[in-house]
Symmetry: C2
Subunit: 194 residues, 2 copies
């Protein structure tokens, strides 16, 4: 998605080997117009699927997910992050390990918001090692719901998340695909073709 | 706002003396269409103000805030919640006490996303004791920005938040104003006039 790639080039900040900071339009400050255009793009990419619900994880997934939900006209459920829970009877939970922060968190979704009738589109801000998406997939399995696809804002193709999802036969569509950071600059997958 | 009041009547759940659970359309599962209509209503209520930025707090404030931002065509910044931070140089921070959870959290906003040129609209999901809004107001003060008003989805008029903001001369507009819970039912401020 050209608008997003340009925004990443202009406003993204490469930190070290593999971190891209996009807190000025996605992770802390949010550009609602860009989020809306991303929602339209997710709809274009998954319009042949019968989506009944969008799942994401708080907090950075919420803005792109609700814009997609607006266009798909379906409810959005955001999984909550916890250190770990004692009361779990009414919840689907999954463990999510963060390689960046080196901590394990639990994510949870109330059982009443996901059923076996649901056809789910997962939306998330980043795909790196795929841990968050995998946690949501465990929850979808536990609810006996159907995963229709995964929509990612920014994918880092050099980390193992994509491969993991491909191996599970999951359709993944990413709005921006980064293949490398070179000299502090972002290189997109399709950039050679320009 | 009639659509919101009806949704609260139909889907809200009164717990104990003073808690309203709206996790099926606002706090966990989100209805994007309703969020969009709320964004339109916030725009109608504050259209005479020159708003340059919308501020909210993660996570439940994000959905209504980004929809308002879409219609105002301004960036949205969501304050992050932490237990407490060591590195604070680049951040505005404020303490927020939660009466429900009986814990104190810190909220923070990167200094680069709020300046003295900004005219800010605060959007939040609930106004009860006003602690979150007060924290955001401290941050706006620290940045020497201008607070133009506060837009609330659900206000509980019987708690002290509204009075606190009135005393500070802040314009507050709430889309639903609850004056009491009676026998497990919600009673709105304007209900006698129906």
């Amino acid at each position: 998605m050209r608008e997003l790639e340009e925004r990443i080039k202009n406003d993204g900040q490469v930190l070290g080997e593999d971190v891209l900071k996009v807190d000025n339009f996605l992770n802390h400050q949010v550009d609602p117009q860009l989020m809306y255009h991303m929602g339209e793009e997710f709809h274009r990419l998954f319009q042949d699927k019968k989506i009944t619900k969008i799942l994401t994880v708080e907090s950075s997934g919420i803005a792109p997910a609700v814009m997609a939900g607006l266009i798909f006209q379906v409810p959005v459920v955001f999984a909550r992050k916890h250190k770990s829970l004692t009361l779990k009877n009414d919840l689907y939970t999954a463990k999510v390990y963060s390689f960046t922060k080196k901590v394990s968190n639990e994510i949870s979704i109330s059982k009443k918001f996901l059923s076996s009738d649901d056809h789910v589109l997962i939306i998330d801000d980043f795909l790196a090692n795929g841990q968050a998406v995998q946690g949501l997939m465990e929850i979808i399995d536990a609810a006996d719901a159907t995963l229709e696809g995964v929509g990612i804002v920014i994918e880092k193709t050099f980390q193992k998340g994509r491969q993991l999802l491909d191996e599970n036969g999951v359709e993944v569509q990413s709005l921006a695909r980064i293949k490398a950071f070179e000299n502090g600059q972002v290189v997109f997958v399709d950039e050679d073709q320009d």
